[in-house]
C-alpha cells in the first residue's frame, strides 16, 4: 500500500539513501582532485620527476596547443579507424553468428577453431597482418577487426543458442520455418545480447586500433603515444592517454544511451 503522506521511517530511509549517494560522489571527486593536486604540487616541489611522469599543468599545455600538436587530426584518425573496425567487426561477426546458428553442423565443426582463435592474442598476428594488408590504415582496421570479430561471433552465437526453447517450440507448433524462428523470436530475443556485445566490442576495437597504430601508423593517438615515448615527450603521452580514456568512455556511453532508447522502443519486458 502506498500512502500520500511520507512516514517518519520513510523520511529517515530517504535521508540515509541521499546522504550515502552524496558521500560516494564527494569521495570520487575528492580522490581525483587530491590525485591531480599531489601530482601538480609534487612536480613543483620536486619530489615527482616531471620528465618521467609529466604534470597536470603541462598536460593542459598540450591541450592548449592542440593546433600545433595536430590533436584533432590524431583524434579523428583513431576514431575513424575504431569506427570502421568496430562496424566491420559487428556486421561480419553477427553474420557469422547467424550462419553458425542456422547450421548446427557448421557450428559444431567450427567450435574448436573459434575457441583457439578467441584465446589467441591477436596482437601476435600484427606482422602477418601488415604483410597481408600493407603498412597503413588497412592493417590497423584489420587488427581492430581481428580482435573484435571473434568475440562478437561467440557472444551472439551463445545468445542465439540460449533463446528460450519454449518460445521456439511454440512457433514450431505453427509450422514456422527457420527464417521465421530467427526473425520473430531469436533476433528480438537477443537485442540485449547484441548491445552487450557492442559494449565489449567498442573497447576491443580501440585496443586493436591502438595496437595497430603502435606497429604501423603515421597518425592517431597510438602513434602519438609511441612518438611521445620515443622523444621523451611525456606530456604528449599523458595527454594522448587522457584523450583515449575520454574517447573510450564517450563511445561506451553512446552505446549505453542507444541501448536504452532501443530497448524502450522495442522491448517491453
Amino acid at each position: 500500500m502506498y500512502h500520500n503522506e511520507i512516514s517518519k521511517e520513510r523520511k529517515i530511509y530517504l535521508k540515509k539513501e541521499r546522504r550515502n549517494k552524496i558521500a560516494v560522489t564527494l569521495c570520487r571527486v575528492f580522490f581525483i582532485v587530491a590525485f591531480i593536486a599531489v601530482w601538480e604540487i609534487g612536480g613543483h616541489l620536486g619530489f615527482i620527476d616531471t620528465f618521467v611522469l609529466s604534470q597536470p599543468s603541462r598536460i593542459l599545455g598540450v591541450f592548449a596547443d592542440f593546433k600545433e600538436n595536430q590533436l584533432l587530426l590524431h583524434i579523428g584518425t583513431t576514431l575513424f579507424e575504431t569506427a570502421v573496425g568496430f562496424l566491420l567487426g559487428v556486421v561480419i561477426g553477427c553474420f557469422l553468428a547467424v550462419l553458425l546458428w542456422w547450421s548446427p553442423f557448421l557450428s559444431k565443426v567450427s567450435e574448436p577453431y573459434l575457441v583457439i582463435l578467441n584465446s589467441l592474442p591477436k596482437i601476435a598476428l600484427g606482422p602477418v597482418i601488415i604483410i597481408w594488408a600493407g603498412a597503413g590504415t588497412r592493417a590497423i582496421i584489420f587488427m581492430a577487426l581481428a580482435i573484435s570479430m571473434i568475440v562478437t561471433v561467440l557472444e551472439m552465437l551463445n545468445g542465439f543458442n540460449n533463446t528460450d526453447k519454449e518460445l521456439i517450440r511454440m512457433l514450431e507448433t505453427f509450422k514456422a520455418n527457420r527464417l521465421q524462428i530467427f526473425t520473430k523470436i531469436v533476433l528480438p530475443y537477443n537485442i540485449e545480447t547484441l548491445f552487450n556485445s557492442l559494449k565489449i566490442n567498442i573497447g576491443l576495437s580501440l585496443v586493436g586500433v591502438i595496437a595497430g597504430e603502435f606497429l604501423v601508423s603515421k597518425a592517431g593517438l597510438g602513434y602519438l603515444i609511441v612518438y611521445g615515448g620515443q622523444v621523451f615527450k611525456m606530456d604528449l603521452v599523458m595527454a594522448s592517454v587522457l584523450i583515449l580514456a575520454a574517447a573510450a568512455a564517450i563511445l561506451y556511453e553512446v552505446i549505453v544511451i542507444t541501448q536504452k532508447l532501443a530497448l524502450k522502443y522495442i522491448n517491453h519486458r
Binding site: 519454449e166 517450440r169 512457433l171 505453427f174 509450422k175 520473430k184 528480438p188 519486458r269
Partner: protein, 256 residues
C-alpha cells in the same frame, strides 16, 4: 456427431542413445467434433508422445492416425498446440501476439483478422489489445495464448500440460475460463495432464494410459447432470469423487 480424429492401433518408438524405446503400444481411440478428451497416465508414460504423434510431429511406427479422414503424416495446419507456458512474446502487444500464428502460417487476411479481433472482443481482451504481456495477469495471458491458437481455426486443439505452470488458484480459474471458451467455440480438444481432477472436470472422456509402453487401461465417459457444465461446478458434484477414485486406482501409482 462426426468423428474428426481416429487413432487406430498406433505404436510409437523413438531412438535413444541406449537403444530403441517403445513409448506407445497399440493405442486406439476416436474423437468426435466438439468433444473434449483428456489423457492421463503415470509420469513419463508417453502422454506427450501420443499428442506429438497426433500433431504429426512424431511419426508412428505402426497403425495410423486419421484427421478428418486424411492420414496424418506431417505437421498439420488443422492442428494447434497450447503449451505449458503462455509463451507470449514480451516485445509484442497482445493483439500482435494473437496474430502471430496467422502471420507464421501466412493466413493474414481481412476475414482472419476480424475473426481474431472478434475473439479478443468476445473474451475481454479487446481493451488490452495494445498492452504488453507484462501488463496482464497470469489468467489473461493464458487467455491471450488460447486466442492465439484459436485464431488459426484449428480442427483439433492439443493442450500439453497447458495449465501446469500456473499456481493452484489461478489454475482453477483459468481451466474454468478455457473450458467455457472452448465449448462456446465448439472446439475439439485433446488435453494431456497429470492432474486427475482437471481431467475429470474438463473433459467429456478421460483416457487412462498405463506405464511405458503406454497402452489404454480404460476410457471413462464423465457424465455430470449439470445444466451449464463447467469445471468448477463439476468439482462440486457427487459423481466427481467416484470418478477420481476409479481413475486413481487405475493409475496404480506408488511411491517407490
Amino acid at each position: 456427431m462426426n468423428k474428426i480424429l481416429e487413432v487406430s492401433h498406433i505404436k510409437v518408438c523413438y531412438q535413444a542413445v541406449n537403444g530403441e524405446v517403445e513409448a506407445i503400444r497399440d493405442v486406439s481411440f476416436s474423437v468426435s467434433e466438439g468433444e473434449f478428451i483428456s489423457i492421463v497416465g503415470p509420469s513419463g508414460c508417453g502422454k506427450s508422445t501420443l499428442l506429438s504423434a497426433v500433431a504429426g510431429v512424431t511419426p508412428v511406427s505402426e497403425g495410423k492416425i486419421l484427421l478428418s479422414g486424411r492420414e496424418v503424416s506431417e505437421v498439420s495446419d488443422d492442428i494447434a498446440y497450447m503449451l505449458q507456458k503462455d509463451n507470449l512474446l514480451p516485445w509484442r502487444s497482445i493483439r500482435k501476439n494473437v496474430l502471430l500464428g496467422l502471420e507464421i502460417r501466412g493466413m493474414i487476411t481481412e476475414e482472419n483478422l476480424s475473426y481474431a479481433d472478434n475473439l479478443l472482443k468476445a473474451y475481454g481482451l479487446w481493451e488490452f489489445r495494445d498492452k504488453y504481456p507484462s501488463q496482464l495477469s497470469g489468467g489473461m495471458r493464458q487467455r491471450a495464448a488460447l486466442i492465439r491458437t484459436l485464431a488459426v481455426r484449428p480442427k483439433v486443439l492439443l493442450l500439453d500440460e497447458a495449465f501446469s505452470a500456473l499456481d493452484y488458484q489461478t489454475r482453477l480459474a483459468v481451466t474454468d475460463d478455457v473450458y467455457k471458451i472452448l465449448k462456446k467455440e465448439k472446439q475439439t480438444a485433446l488435453i494431456v495432464t497429470h492432474d486427475i481432477p482437471e481431467s475429470i472436470s474438463m473433459s467429456d472422456r478421460v483416457i487412462v494410459l498405463s506405464k511405458r509402453p503406454a497402452v489404454i487401461r480404460n476410457i471413462y465417459t464423465t457424465e455430470f447432470d449439470i445444466p451449464d457444465r463447467s469445471p468448477l461446478l463439476c468439482r462440486d458434484h457427487a459423481a466427481f469423487g467416484e470418478y477420481f477414485n476409479q481413475i486413481w486406482k487405475e493409475l496404480d501409482v506408488h511411491v517407490s
